[in-house]
């Protein structure tokens, strides 16, 4: 029923949407279908955010958002009632592949301006999305061209199986993606059924790897230069406009005199039998703007820290080159993905507040360049050294997001603090991706991505009874 209402609402809202357009962004249609349903959740413990729990509390969800959280809330009329032992925020996979077709994942042609959001296949992956929701993962950041040097802009998806793009895409410009360490032809491989088979390509030699880093760093510096040029142009243009305005008032003031001078000169010329020659007019040339470049527009914003940069790098040489190369770009916000040997740089990573997305996968699924990445204790070791740790599902296999909570459990087993793992999957990931205002905690005003559990989250014996994604109950104990 609410699906129908949603469709109606979107049809009614669509024409009223304000439409704005700039050369770099195209307008995106369809209003979000706002669920009209009200949900009332009673829980023995509500985990508001890591380390902050209130007991015997209730959560009210309406219009896709969390309306209220607290103890002693009363049941609103007409609300769907759900009860459970624990309530917490839905998990976020900051390094997933679910929702992007194999062709898009292995595309090697993206440029910085390519948007993963354009490649999201909202008509496929329904079963995987359902399974992943059942496991408690409600959002995932996905990326086209994971194997290419530059993968373009990543997108954050809500995993609800629906055909309305606006309901699915939470952010179109989540991050810029770059990868170093593999040869340029490296791409995830899939069989004819779309099943992930592994990562193609071979590990590059140390020179190639450092060269790749160099190239990426210079791409970013070019973006920054572009920004500088744009700003310079703005100032130059203003100065020119001012100078011209002054000149114009002067010319207008002298207009009568100029006319008289001309008449006089013409008269003189005819008297002397010479040809009359006009005075040459000179003024400052109007400054030219820097050539518009859609890729540099994006890179400039990344260099300026408006969009985070995620770089997939594992080895010491690459991480070192990267950290050195990006030092000059003070505003850039770097996130490391992979980071197999990142512990050697733990101090620097902690100081520069560079988070690392660790893929705590068991042995046997690794890329050629990962070496110790499969050490399940990597997350724990980084965390102990003070690095902000996030957990992701590797960004290659669409089915892997489903296993993220399980993998987080493995990382806990290998020494990571459970609360740190929980933080990594909720507010930690949200913060790294600039989505802390919308997801990651149980707070009034945030999107209603909630899990109702019969035990503590990230414990293997706990069952997820209900999942609410974007204010809709998408998983119940019955389905």
């Amino acid at each position: 029923m609410h699906m129908l209402v949603g469709c109606l609402a979107s049809a009614l809202l669509a024409p009223a949407l304000p439409v704005s357009i700039s050369p770099s962004t195209t307008t995106e249609k369809h209003a979000e279908a706002v669920p009209s349903e009200t949900i009332f959740i009673r829980a023995e413990h509500v985990i508001l955010r890591p380390g902050q729990v209130i007991d015997d509390a209730q959560v009210i969800v309406r219009g896709g958002k969390i309306l209220a959280v607290g103890a002693g809330l009363s049941l609103p009329a007409g609300a769907t009632e759900i009860s459970g032992k624990y309530v917490c925020a839905g998990f976020i996979d900051p390094w997933g592949a679910l929702g992007i077709s194999p062709d898009e994942l292995s595309d090697s042609s993206p440029t910085p301006a390519t948007r993963s959001a354009d490649g999201v296949d909202i008509y496929g992956f329904d079963h995987l999305r359902r399974d992943t929701l059942r496991a408690g993962v409600t959002t995932a950041r996905v990326q086209v061209g994971t194997g290419s040097r530059i993968g373009g802009l990543g997108t954050l998806l809500r995993l609800t199986p629906t055909a309305n793009t606006a309901d699915v895409i939470l952010s179109r410009e989540c991050n810029l993606w770059m990868t170093v360490g593999l040869t340029s032809g490296s791409q995830p491989l899939f069989d004819s059924q779309g099943q992930f088979m592994g990562m193609g390509g071979r590990a590059a030699d140390p020179f190639e790897r450092v060269e790749t880093v160099d190239r990426l760093v210079s791409t970013l510096q070019a973006g920054q230069n572009y920004l500088v040029q744009k700003n310079e142009y703005k100032h130059e243009l203003e100065a020119w406009k001012k100078a011209i305005a002054e000149k114009e008032t002067e010319l207008e003031k002298d207009a009568k005199k100029a006319k008289k001078d001309r008449e006089k000169a013409e008269k003189e010329a005819t008297e002397k039998g010479k040809k009359f020659e006009e005075k040459k007019y000179k003024e400052d040339k109007k400054p030219n703007p820097p050539r518009y470049d859609d890729d540099n527009e994006v890179v400039a914003r990344v260099a300026n820290g408006e969009i985070p940069l995620i770089v997939h790098a594992n080895r010491v040489s690459e991480i070192r080159a990267l950290l050195q190369g990006l030092e000059s770009l003070g505003r850039l916000r770097l996130i490391l993905a992979g980071g197999a040997e990142a512990t050697y740089f733990a101090k620097q990573l902690a100081e520069r507040r560079i988070p690392v997305i660790v893929w705590p996968a068991p042995l046997g699924r690794a890329r050629a360049d990962e070496f110790e990445a499969n050490d399940l204790s990597l997350a724990a070791r980084l965390k102990q050294a003070g690095v902000q740790v996030l957990l992701g599902s590797g960004g290659m296999d669409p089915a892997a997001s489903r296993d993220l909570p399980l993998m987080a459990g493995l990382a806990v087993g290998a020494g990571l603090d459970r609360e740190a793992a929980f933080e990594a999957l909720t507010i930690g990931a949200a913060r790294a991706l600039d989505m802390q205002d919308r997801i990651g905690t149980v707070e009034a005003g945030k999107d209603a991505d909630l899990l109702v559990l019969d035990g503590e989250p990230l414990v293997s014996t706990t069952r997820i009874r209900n999942v609410i994604a974007g204010g809709r109950v998408v998983v119940t104990p019955e389905n």
Binding site: A11, V19, S20, I21, S22, P23, S24, T25, T26, T27, E28, K29, S101, D103, E104, D107, S108, S109, P110, T111, A113, T114, R115, S116, D118, G119, V120, D121, I122, Y123, H127, L128, V144, G145, G152, A163, T165, Q193, G194, I244, K247, E248, L251, E252, D254, A255, K257, A258, K259, K260, D261, R262, E263, E278, K279, Y281, E283, K286, Y292, D294
Partner: protein
């Protein structure tokens, strides 16, 4: 004496003209057993009178001119020529190596003596929309042609009907990069136009300052102007009137015409995702009302979005979409035209090739899959004619329309029927009894040298099996 000579010469000339089949006096009368008009009820023993290329009257008892050529075949069925809504054949090559080339025209690529045009006559297709192939971002301008004529201009029914745009992925690339390339193309157009206006303004300002400085009056002839930007695009270039129309670059002009609603867009979509991207693009640049989606792959999954947008579609020739259930592994078949028929979306069918899977076959398949006969026939006649804005000229047999008539020796979509005669704009352009190539295809080379009786047997309307075999063998030869 002189008078008589003139009369005699005139008489002889007249005889000579009426003697030839094609270059008559522009009058032709077709009498046949049944006329399927596609504009009302069928007419038994109907008569079609065509003069100067147009149908002047049609019915049971209509006046015929005494000097008209008569095709009197009570055993045959008259049908309006099939209309091919979209074809990438008939050119010397379908694709260019230029990604964005709206300034190209298929006029320079159509090959009037291409076998394709001969083949489509055998299948009863009389109107074809020739468009560039899908290996581009924005292709050239297509045109509607009839398959007869020695020059492209002679063939042309409507020139510059619209642009080919590709929203689907090209090989080795992703939809995301394609979407970005399209976004960039329209962004470039917008920036180009804005710069054009700005340069014009700056030039005028400069001229004014120069005149002030030199003490003279402004030249009056500087005030040539164009007109404001038209169309319904959400973005407009302000003060566009300042630019005389001739000054817009030929490379950008066709795109501007598209945005202003003066060209159609044939947007190729290979998937549901591509459909969404295509619709978003058409909305953002104001050409949704002039958009026709050319579908392939699983694009039918976006049928709801298409219905909401209200755009017509041309369906790919692979009518049955087969996918595998990811959990059970069971094959799921979807008959694509049925999806659009059920959702009441205007759809036209498209030939895979000119023989075995030509339009008659596509329509017959639809009837076999439960679409009613009228809708199936409309999808190869009236609907494509309306989609191509040629509804007043082709697609049905009624007074005032072009004299395009195909005579079959049975029901036009029966596997047993073959095309006997084709009349295009009043000219008899195909006569099966004189089609030596068809005879060879039908009988093989050895038999082609055999006695002529065999020919009679082959076109016998009662030897259905033979006719069916012929269609099959035709396709094998063709492919």
């Amino acid at each position: 004496m002189w008078n008589r000579t003139i009369q005699l010469t005139a008489l002889l000339t007249l005889c000579a003209l009426t003697g030839s089949a094609t270059a008559g006096n522009g009058k032709i009368v077709i009498k046949c057993g049944r006329v399927i008009t596609q504009a009302g009820p069928d007419i038994e023993n109907g008569v079609i009178v065509i003069e100067e290329g147009r149908i002047v009257s049609i019915g049971k008892d209509v006046k015929t001119a005494w000097d008209a050529e008569v095709l009197d075949h009570p055993e045959l069925v008259a049908f309006p020529g099939f209309v091919e809504a979209h074809s990438i054949r008939g050119m010397d090559r379908p694709n260019e190596n230029i990604e964005i080339a709206p300034f190209l025209d298929v006029r320079d690529s159509i090959d009037p003596i291409n076998f394709y045009f001969e083949d489509v006559l055998r299948q009863g297709i009389t109107t074809i929309n020739v468009q560039q192939g899908p290996m581009c971002v924005i292709g050239g301008q297509g045109r509607v042609v009839k398959p007869v004529g020695l020059t492209v201009d002679e063939m042309t029914v409507r020139s510059s009907i619209g642009l080919k745009i590709v929203a689907g992925a090209r090989p080795g690339r992703s939809r995301a990069t394609q979407a970005q390339a399209l976004r960039k193309a329209f962004g470039d157009l917008q920036m180009y136009l804005e710069k054009l206006v700005q340069d014009k303004k700056d030039g005028k300002d400069y001229a004014r300052r120069e005149a002030l400085f030199q003490g003279r009056d402004m030249d009056k002839d500087e005030n040539k102007t164009g007109r404001e930007m038209e169309g319904v695009a959400p973005w407009k270039v302000a003060d566009f009137k300042i630019v005389p129309r001739g000054e817009v670059d030929d490379k950008q002009e066709p795109l501007l015409r598209l945005v202003e609603g003066k060209l159609m867009a044939f947007v190729y979509c290979d998937s549901g995702v591509a459909v969404n991207n295509a619709l978003a693009m058409a909305r953002a640049h104001g050409f949704l009302a002039n958009t026709v989606l050319v579908l392939d792959g699983d694009a039918w999954k976006a049928a709801d979005a298409i219905a909401e947008a209200g755009v017509p579609v041309v369906l790919g020739p692979a009518q049955m979409y087969v996918e595998r259930d990811p959990i059970t592994g069971k094959e799921i078949e979807t008959f694509v035209p049925r999806v659009f028929f059920d959702k009441k979306i205007r759809f036209a069918l498209q030939s895979l090739n000119s023989t075995a899977q030509s339009l008659w076959f596509q329509a017959a398949q639809c009837i076999g899959q439960g679409i009613d006969r009228k809708a199936a026939l409309d999808a190869v006649t009236r609907t494509p004619a309306e989609i191509l804005r040629l509804g007043k000229r082709v697609g049905a047999l009624e007074a005032g329309k072009d004299g395009n008539v195909v005579l079959f020796n049975g029901d036009p979509i029966s596997v047993k029927s073959t095309v006997q005669y084709v009349v295009i704009e009043g000219n008899l352009v195909y006569d099966r009894s004189k089609d030596s190539r068809a005879r060879q295809l039908l009988q093989g080379i050895e038999q082609a040298n055999a006695a002529p009786e065999a020919v009679e047997e082959a076109v016998d309307p009662h030897s259905g099996k033979k006719a069916a075999e012929e269609k099959k063998s035709g396709s094998e030869k063709k492919d």
